[in-house]
């Protein structure tokens, strides 16, 4: 509470600035097609989206809590929370979606050299470089540390050979942060964390088609890729610590973003609104399908409890409390909630939710169907739900490993 007055001043400042600088079309609901991922390949169909990104980037408010010297906003956690509230108040669209902002940047801030931070962070803040995550391999998914992509020290450079898979947006990314094996004699202690340009010779990406009909990720192949030595982060063979920390940031960002719930199709309507319209109500106003009504109510209540938990964790962090145990559940819960929500929407839509493409279905309806399919990945990406439960059991509850 000590900084309450300071926050009041900041709130007014932020509110005024947003009022002047957030373009009108950036205050309307967005669909998947409106998402700005940045990078060299970004095409802006809406010039206001470009303007909004530039303004927020220059202010450092795409990365509110990063230090000013790396282009960030230099805000305290409390101020950043106020900024979030003010953005929410005017329903502003996020100017930038970015693995750089959510995962790589926070990890580099902790583990990168001064030179690496100066070199890479400002371009992330401005949305000029788009990053992808080279973690998973065909043989190394949940057991990530079993990865085999080889990285050899060739004196003045490293040489990389191997394959990654499920690399989201590898075909659109400018750079990759990548886990490679620098020592084959030990498992966790033989991994390094390295960065390179996706246009380097020997990098090839092949998009993979998902059940939702889109191709957001790729198989990624590295054949004799040369990487300058100053692009290895931290110590050689010290990559696993960085990798794990980055996964924490990833899980936090996945749960905080509610799995793109804002773009979950069928507009901003909840399953109960859709069910009322498609199924009808009894004379007392209650949804006519009593069983579906009960399940929707249960879902909405769970969702509310989840939102309150995110809020409690933010407040606890602000008050200096330990939030580790609370945040550990958010990825697991968030995945389940988004899957439940998208399933309920499709169920409520009935036949109107069973189209695939073309005439006869609204765009919102088609999006809702695809969102349900895409949501199946929520309990796989960023660590599966089973692996998440393992982590809660071992790290939070202190249960032992099976011998």
């Amino acid at each position: 509470m000590a900084d309450g007055a300071a926050h009041d001043t900041f709130r007014i400042e932020a509110r005024n600035w947003l009022e002047e600088n957030c373009p009108p079309s950036m205050r309307t609901p967005m669909s998947d097609a409106d998402v700005i991922w940045g990078g060299k390949g970004q095409v802006f169909h809406n010039p206001e989206a470009k303007l909004w990104l530039e303004r927020m980037g220059e202010k450092g408010w795409t990365a509110p809590e990063w230090p000013r010297e790396y282009g960030g906003g230099g805000l305290s956690r409390g101020e950043a929370a106020v900024l979030q509230q003010e953005l929410g108040r005017i329903k502003a669209r996020p100017p930038l979606f970015s693995f750089g902002l959510w995962m790589f940047g926070p990890a580099l801030l902790e583990f990168g050299s001064e030179e690496q931070k100066k070199r890479f962070l400002p371009d992330i803040v401005m949305g000029r470089t788009r990053w992808c995550q080279g973690y998973s391999e065909p043989g190394a998914g949940s057991d990530l540390a079993d990865l085999q992509t080889k990285c050899e020290d060739k004196g003045d450079h490293y040489l990389i050979n191997g394959q990654k898979v499920w690399t989201s947006y590898a075909n659109h990314a400018d750079w990759i942060f990548c886990l490679v094996r620098t020592d084959t004699s030990v498992k966790h202690g033989g991994i390094s964390f390295i960065l390179f340009d996706m246009k380097s010779e020997g990098v090839e990406t092949r998009p993979i088609l998902l059940i939702s009909g889109s191709s957001p990720f790729c198989e990624t192949f590295f054949t004799d890729v040369k990487v300058p030595k100053d692009q290895l982060v931290g110590e050689v063979n010290g990559g696993w610590t960085i990798a794990k920390r980055l996964l924490q940031f990833e899980r936090q960002s996945i749960s905080a973003s509610g799995f793109g719930a804002s773009t979950a199709g069928a507009g901003a309507l909840g399953p109960h609104d859709i069910a009322k319209a498609k199924i009808g109500v009894n004379s007392d106003g209650a949804l006519a399908d009593g069983d579906l009504r009960g399940r929707i109510a249960k879902h909405l209540m769970y969702n509310k409890a989840f939102g309150l938990t995110v809020r409690r964790s933010t407040e606890t962090a602000k008050a200096g409390g330990d939030i580790g145990p609370t945040t550990s559940i958010l990825k697991y819960c968030g995945a389940k909630l988004n899957q439940d929500k998208t399933e309920l929407v499709v169920e409520a839509l009935g036949a109107d939710g069973l189209g695939w493409s073309g005439d006869g279905f609204d765009k919102d309806e088609l999006d809702a169907t695809r969102a349900m399919l895409r949501a199946k990945g929520n309990s796989i990406e960023g660590g599966t739900s089973e692996v998440n439960l393992n982590v809660i059991a071992k790290r939070v509850l202190g249960l032992r490993e099976h011998q």
């Binding site: 109960h272 609104d273 069910a275 009322k276 109500v281 106003g285 209650a286 949804l287 009504r293 009960g294 929707i296 109510a297 249960k298 909405l300 209540m301 769970y302 509310k304 409890a305 989840f306 309150l308 938990t309 809020r311 409690r312 407040e315 606890t316 008050a319 409390g321 145990p325 609370t326 559940i329 697991y332 819960c333 089973e386 998440n388 439960l389 393992n390 809660i392 059991a393 071992k394 939070v396 509850l397 202190g398 249960l399 032992r400 490993e401 099976h402 011998q403």
Partner: protein
């Protein structure tokens, strides 16, 4: 709304937890049960009075400490941790709220001090059927000279077996009214019940019980809003108690997972159990947030108290149901024995789940409040 306790609230919480642990452990409930006391524990009541716990929701002017719902919630959670049978919900929370929210100055003067001191135990006599249903009140209050004649029957009134003053809901003038009825009113008979949870309760029969007009809270037939507000507080307080019970049962189970060995392993190393433990932990975290939000919403006078009350009570019911079952299951055979505590959790859980509406009741209400 805030989830962070003030220093005073934290102190109250610590005191309540230590008190429940030291003075009202589960073994005390076992003793009450073995003595067939139907939850009557005069000694515990006296100690709670000494601590001032009956006055936490009562203004200082009437002898209370004015801690509000957040303070009350800490005490309820603490008593839930040991399944303690106390008059706190019915008296410190419900009695203080009925009079505090609806009482006239004269009624407040007459009763709040006695509630705060622990001298008067109150009990809400509302439900009449097998299920919580505040809309289905058949007990009538018929005008008779300067007062009313009340007739009807009340089912499963918590603390009814020892309450000094009943808060009776009856139908008058086409609406609901609330009356203060002393236990020795002529025409009132109280039948003590031996209940599953050993907390006890009572059935009441009202046969033309005469109540003076001065013992009516508010106007005849216009008590619905007051009753809703009091019930929502009661539901939130009960949810806080259930959070305490669920936390305790979870900790007990976790402890067993870390000590019991089979197949040469701690049973807590089996993934089939680890995942279920992690899911229980998740549910508990969501419940803690729901209860915290609801408690604080009452004190800050938010307009979504009803919604948050139903959220807290439904999540509490689902979570305690799950954990009370898993507690028995993960203890194996010993969990089925009367000598173990798991059974006490299970039995108290089922009563608390049903009281003032189970998960189904509150999901239905939540849907209605959200327009579907």
């Amino acid at each position: 709304m805030t989830f962070i306790l003030t220093e005073d609230q934290q102190l109250l919480r610590d005191t309540a937890i230590a008190f429940a642990r030291d003075e009202l452990p589960i073994s005390r409930l076992r003793d009450l049960r073995d003595q067939a006391a139907n939850g009557v524990d005069a000694e515990a009541r006296a100690k709670l009075a000494e601590l001032g716990f009956f006055g936490v929701m009562i203004p200082e002017a009437h002898g209370g400490s004015d801690f509000g719902m957040v303070g009350m919630g800490q005490i309820m959670e603490a008593q839930g941790r040991t399944l303690a049978a106390t008059p706190l919900l019915q008296t410190a929370l419900i009695g203080a709220s009925v009079l505090g929210l609806g009482g006239s100055d004269a009624q407040k003067d007459a009763w709040l001090g006695k509630i705060a001191s622990g001298e008067t135990a109150t009990a809400l006599a509302l439900d009449e059927g097998a299920h919580h249903n505040p809309d289905a009140i058949a007990t009538t209050a018929t005008e008779d000279g300067e007062g009313y004649l009340l007739s009807g029957a009340k089912r499963f009134v918590p603390n009814g077996q020892f309450a000094d003053l009943f808060l009776v809901v009856a139908r008058a003038n086409d609406g609901l009214s609330l009356f203060l009825m002393p236990k020795d009113a002529s025409g009132l008979s109280v039948q003590s019940l031996n209940t599953l949870d050993a907390h006890g309760a009572a059935d009441l029969t009202l046969d033309n019980v005469r109540i003076d007009a001065s013992a009516m809270i508010g106007q005849a037939g216009e008590a619905s809003t007051l009753i809703d507000a009091v019930l929502d507080r009661a539901r939130i307080g009960l949810a806080a108690e259930m959070l305490g019970s669920a936390s305790m049962a979870f900790e007990m189970t976790l402890d067993y997972l870390q000590t019991r060995k089979q197949f040469g392993q701690l049973i807590g190393s089996f993934q089939g159990l680890q995942h279920r433990a992690a899911i229980m932990f998740t549910e508990l975290e969501l419940l803690r947030s729901s209860v915290g939000a609801a408690l604080s919403a009452v004190d800050t006078g938010r307009n979504d108290v009803a919604e948050l009350a139903s959220l807290a009570k439904a999540r509490a019911a689902d979570t305690l149901h799950l954990i009370s079952n898993e507690c028995v299951q993960m203890h194996g055979g010993i969990g089925m024995t009367d000598a173990h505590e798991a059974g006490f959790v299970l039995k108290r859980a089922r009563v608390a789940e049903a009281l003032y509406g189970g998960a189904g009741f509150h999901r239905d209400r939540y849907a209605r409040l959200n327009g579907f």
